[in-house]
């Protein structure tokens, strides 16, 4: 458990560094940010693996644990404060990203974006993710814990086939992390349970949570779109590694954007401005 606390602390510090690098004179230093993102990844791995060793022992309590951690993570403030207590909260719908903004709109937006962050993390995009996005949108409007639980479960399931390792994805992962440290945790938690869940569960969950689309190709396209939208978002508000250091990723995002015309992407784009404001406030 000590490792988990330490890993969490290091993750918070890393995110703080990435955030501060935005306002540094002379532009973002690629080398330093790369190293910070590597540390972030290592810490995340430890954080996850630590959780795994506990969860694998008792599969029946997976959902309960997930719920607990989701609560505790979502109640954490946005700023990269040092070690936060892991006491669970009762309200799953507390907006983890913008605590000061109670609007449901933002909540849904935040949840959407957290799912997108999720997709950024995992290299293998699964359709569950994209479909669950919509489901979470619906779910997050209510404040029923039960709904939340299913949402968490769905999110957990959707990543069942995704790879925990954000292999060779430091830049984007970094960007995502910098935006929402607690989201990182919730994503990690979801991912943990996802990996825990057997892969044969995923088809079941897939059909259950699908709303906007069910075809694999569409989903993958959307996932690419999600990633690219994230890049756009982060590029505009985060002045992140990709968009500031080179213009190529920007071109990529533009291409992907035109390619994907999914609902989630549109929703995200519409809500871009309030999200940017939130990030700037952070």
């Amino acid at each position: 458990m000590e490792y988990k606390v330490e890993a969490h602390r290091i993750m918070s510090i890393s995110l703080g560094k990435i955030y501060n690098s935005r306002v540094q004179r002379g532009g973002i230093k690629l080398h330093k940010n790369l190293l910070v993102s590597l540390v972030l990844r290592s810490a995340r791995q430890v954080y996850l693996s630590d959780y795994y060793s506990g969860v694998c022992l008792n599969t029946q309590h997976v959902e309960a644990k997930e719920w607990e951690l989701m609560d505790s993570n979502q109640e954490k403030p946005l700023t990269p404060a040092p070690e936060e207590s892991l006491s669970p909260s009762t309200d799953c719908n507390q907006n983890p990203v913008v605590p000061e903004d109670p609007e449901v709109q933002h909540t849904s937006q935040a949840v959407e974006d957290s799912t997108d962050l999720h997709s950024v993390y995992s290299k293998h995009q699964a359709e569950e993710e994209s479909s669950s996005e919509d489901s979470t949108t619906d779910v997050s409007l209510t404040s029923s814990p039960v709904t939340c639980e299913s949402q968490c479960e769905a999110k957990g399931a959707e990543v069942s086939s995704s790879d925990c390792e954000a292999d060779a994805n430091p830049a984007t992962v970094t960007e995502g992390n910098s935006q929402q440290p607690p989201k990182a945790h919730s994503c990690s938690n979801r991912k943990r349970t996802a990996e825990k869940t057997a892969s044969n569960d995923s088809p079941v969950k897939r059909t259950k949570v699908t709303s906007s689309n069910s075809s694999e190709e569409e989903a993958e396209e959307m996932d690419t779109g999600n990633v690219s939208n994230l890049i756009t978002i982060f590029g505009s508000s985060f002045s992140g590694l990709l968009t500031k250091e080179s213009s190529e990723p920007e071109a990529e995002t533009e291409d992907s954007d035109s390619g994907s015309g999914q609902i989630c992407c549109d929703q995200m784009l519409k809500n871009l401005n309030p999200w940017s404001t939130a990030i700037v406030a952070f």
Binding site: A7, I10, H31, A171, S246
Partner: protein
Amino acid sequence: MEEEIDNRKINNSFLRDHNYATEADIISTVEFNSTGELLATGDKGGRVVVFQREQESKNQPHRRGEYNVYSTFQSHEPEFDYLKSLEIEEKINKIRWLPQQNAAYFLLSTNDKTVKLWKISERDKRPEGYNLKDEDGRIRDPSTITSLRVPVLRPMDLMVEATPRRVFSNGHTYHINSISVNSDYETYMSTDDLRINLWHLEITNRSFNIVDIKPTNMEELTEVITAAEFHPHQCNTFVYSSSKGSIRLCDMRSAALCDNHSKFFEEPEDPSNRSFFSEIISSISDVKFSHSGRYLMTRDYLTVKVWDLNMESKPLETYQVHDYLRSKLCSLYENDCIFDKFECVWNGSDSVIMTGSYNNFFRMFDRNTKRDVTLEASRENSKPRAILKPRKVCVGGKRRKDEISVDSLDFSKKILHTTWHPSENIIAVAATNNLYIFQDKVN
């Protein structure tokens, strides 16, 4: 080597005007020229200060060639990239001297984006006796001119002027971290995080990209280039180090784009030392060829390694600079010290290597006797002409009288930049905004 160190004296301690350390005065690079006659320093404010060694005089035999300010000029100004909304720092990242070919001196100085070639020349005569203008420069009334005369050169007070002769701009998207002059004295290379460009000293509007490690998808980026240097004798060979702790040696004869290395130097990681910060501390901050060209020295956060160019599997020698910091990596990560880029330097005969540490300490390792020493560059602890006393860091247990415990080290006082005279035992050490020059007493 012990005797050498005991006799080491402080020659001069050059201080800036202010007593407080303004950020612009922080020295960011130091470099002797190829004869050791000149010493250049660059600072965060974009200025270059060049020191020249005094000629030894019979009148004052004890003043063995001290270094005095020779020239000061503003090399780089802060710029703003409007397209990317980025400010470009004026901090001088590296200075490299060109070998002297005439009476003037030439050096290359670079900030994050632009390399400039500066000519430093002396003027000690000026023409007097113009016909059309008087000594003040005002145009004379033609009607008052009654005779014709030829201007003659008359001696004047020595004036050292620095003029920018070439500006090599728009070559780099990322931050330039090193420059290296080729042994052919015609070309040089500039290195940023992902690319290395080859320039001709005469041509500013074109450069050749010789290394490009930028992945097509930036999300797949795993390592960056941290330093690069040309081989001292072979004009076709250069090395570059990476953030992953590897060094690649490339031969420009094999291909125009040297993405494929000829040699790959990497030491396998010790699994027992694995931590969150293993990747950071293995990132190489400096790479230097030995003067002989046979060896390579690399500096990562905790060690200095000497490599034999003929052996790629592991370094020839590894020296622990400050291994007591290994248990403090987390704190050093928090206060950003773990990202400090220390430089390393060879002495003229390649027998001693030197690098900096914290608390204004710097370390020297004798490769032959395997002895090492820790010295301190500070005004409080050394007076001019005093002999430097070796320092010791107490790792654990009982602290002896003169030792310093690890916890009382001042991590804001770091020696990142040092340089060694090419042939004599004179070293220049930059401690934040102060420059220390140490000289060996033995003649």
